[in-house]
């Protein structure tokens, strides 16, 4: 220890401290700060670039996935549309058929009714005419055949009532 203290040189200590602190300040200003900031900048650039590349990759994957999804959706939609169209067309055809059937039935029914009416009218007409004719015929027959008025009328009435018209 004593030897160490004896060896200690104040002058050397003074110069060492002066030189070292001087060097420290000079290098800090002119070397370490620029070096460290340059290196840091470079590292940040590399990191950012890597991140950007990673992001671009992820973005592209997302876009591709999107495309696939959209394509799939479009396909599904198309299928749905086609099915809908098919259904609608069938519906329309069926509706048309039903409507036509109904119309036809209606027309048929109306026709039948008209025919019935015509028929009834014709029958009534025929009945009236047949009645008139029959009366005429009977009058003429009976006029010729029958003298007694009373007996003639009874007979005619009986005859008319006996006629059943269908």
């Amino acid at each position: 220890m004593e030897k160490l203290l004896e060896e200690f040189s104040l002058g050397l200590f003074f110069w060492q401290t002066l030189l070292f602190v001087g060097l420290l300040l000079l290098l800090a200003k002119y070397a370490w700060k620029p070096i460290l900031s340059a290196v840091e900048e470079r590292e940040n650039t590399i990191k950012d670039s890597l991140e950007a590349a990673e992001k671009a990759k992820a973005d592209m994957e997302a876009v591709q996935a999107d495309n696939k999804r959209i394509l799939k959706e479009a396909r599904v939609e198309r299928d749905a549309l086609l099915a809908e169209a098919k259904k609608t067309s069938t519906q329309i055809v069926n509706d048309a058929k039903e409507a036509a059937q109904a119309e036809a039935d209606k027309i048929a029914a109306a026709t039948q009714e008209a025919i019935q009416q015509e028929k009834n009218a014709a029958i009534n007409d025929i009945k009236a005419q047949v009645a008139g004719l029959s009366v005429d015929i009977a009058q003429k027959v009976l006029q010729g055949e029958l003298a007694d008025q009373k007996k003639q009328e009874q007979l005619v009435e009986k005859l008319v009532n006996d006629i059943e018209i269908k």
Binding site: E7, W15, F20, L27, Y30, I35
Partner: protein, 369 residues
């Protein structure tokens, strides 16, 4: 059978080698006795001299045919404060052999220190063999200071050019500084960040980087034939450790001081803490000083020891003076210098690492529990 015999032969060879080695030791010892035994002392003195700082930048010295010591190197300026600034060349001392006369004052070198003496250069010693002469304030530019100025210039040039190359080269290092960029990053990512923490490491970076390269370069410079031993000098390591100490304690957070003066916190009642703290607080306070002190001793001792071992092995070559011993110690010296290259880096790393660790303690802010 054949293998057995080869093993036998190699064992025999080993024994023979050892025998020769011992013989050469014995031989060397004999020769030393014949030479008067001062070679060992001379080597010892040479090593001791090398480990110390020097007032001139001598590269090597030899004794010429006329028996004079010839020094090859350059004198350095001596700067003294002794009732006024005295600046003169160290050549006036003639390597401690003469007294330097400056403005009517006389100065002499004694054990590598400058003392004020009379015209004859008398050094008065007390009972414990310490000079009683006055010691002027010595701010000389010594060999170590020159080495540090060299490293100063080298580092400034290297790292300035590295910094500039980023701007010129589009954010990529170029030129000689490029070699040091990974090391700068290593200091940042493996020393500063893990020890100090992501939030605060930036403000310590300048010190850590400077101290790391400063120590490393000086260590390496110490391994060159220039023969400087800067980081093995207690004043230098003291200066470095003092800065670590100052930075640690000046940037200490509230938590850092709380940890020293109230290490147990609220985990215990105050009356239970009092008897513990009588012991704990002095230990913690002592720790504040011991931490940087260990830094200065570790670096000093490692570099000092490395130089001693290396130079002793080189010295052994001259003691052996035989065909076997000298190459052997040369080989050893070579191996040790390779290890010293590693140690040079390792010690710089350890100093920086531990400084970062201490800064980490100072900067820590933990959640209060």
């Amino acid at each position: 059978m054949k293998r057995k015999s080869t093993i036998l032969i190699s064992a025999k060879k080993c024994v023979a080698l050892l025998a020769i080695l011992f013989a050469s030791f014995a031989f060397a010892n004999n020769k030393e006795d014949a030479n008067g035994g001062d070679l060992k002392t001379e080597i010892k003195e040479y090593i001791a001299h090398h480990l110390l700082d020097s007032y001139d930048f001598s590269l090597f010295s030899y004794t010429n045919e006329a028996g004079e010591h010839v020094y090859v190197g350059a004198p350095l300026p001596i700067i003294l404060w002794d009732n006024g600034l005295k600046v003169f060349s160290s050549s006036k001392f003639h390597h401690g052999e003469t007294v330097a006369a400056v403005d009517g004052n006389y100065y002499a070198l004694y054990h590598n220190k400058i003392y004020k003496t009379d015209a004859e250069g008398t050094i008065n010693l007390d009972e414990t063999n310490h000079p009683t002469n006055l010691k002027p304030l010595d701010l000389s530019i010594t060999k170590s200071v020159v080495s540090m100025i060299l490293v100063f210039a080298l580092m400034f040039f290297l790292f300035k050019s590295l910094a500039d190359s980023y701007a010129k080269n589009g954010g990529v290092a170029a030129g000689v500084g490029r070699f040091f960029e990974p090391i700068v990053l290593y200091v940042r990512d493996d020393i500063a960040r893990p020890n100090i923490g992501e939030k605060k490491y930036k403000k310590y970076m300048s010190f850590l980087l400077t101290v790391f390269f400063f120590i490393w370069f000086l260590n390496i410079l110490g391994l060159t034939p220039l023969g400087v031993n800067v980081t093995g000098n207690i004043a230098v390591t003291f200066g470095l450790a003092l800065l670590t100490f100052l930075i640690t304690n000046l940037t200490g957070t509230k938590d850092y001081w709380l940890h020293i003066f109230d290490p147990l916190g609220s985990s215990m009642a105050w009356y239970a803490k009092v008897p513990l703290y009588i012991i704990l607080i002095p230990i913690e306070v002592l720790g504040v000083f011991i931490k940087p002190f260990s830094l200065l001793i570790r670096l000093y001792a490692n570099m000092q020891a490395g130089h001693i071992v290396l130079m002793s092995l080189i010295g052994l070559m001259f003691i052996f003076k035989s065909w076997l011993g000298s190459p052997l110690s040369f080989g050893l010296a070579f191996a040790i210098s390779l290890i010293e290259v590693l140690v040079a880096l390792l010690q710089a790393y350890i100093f920086t690492m531990l400084s970062a660790l201490y800064f980490g303690f100072a900067a820590e802010e933990h959640e209060h529990h």
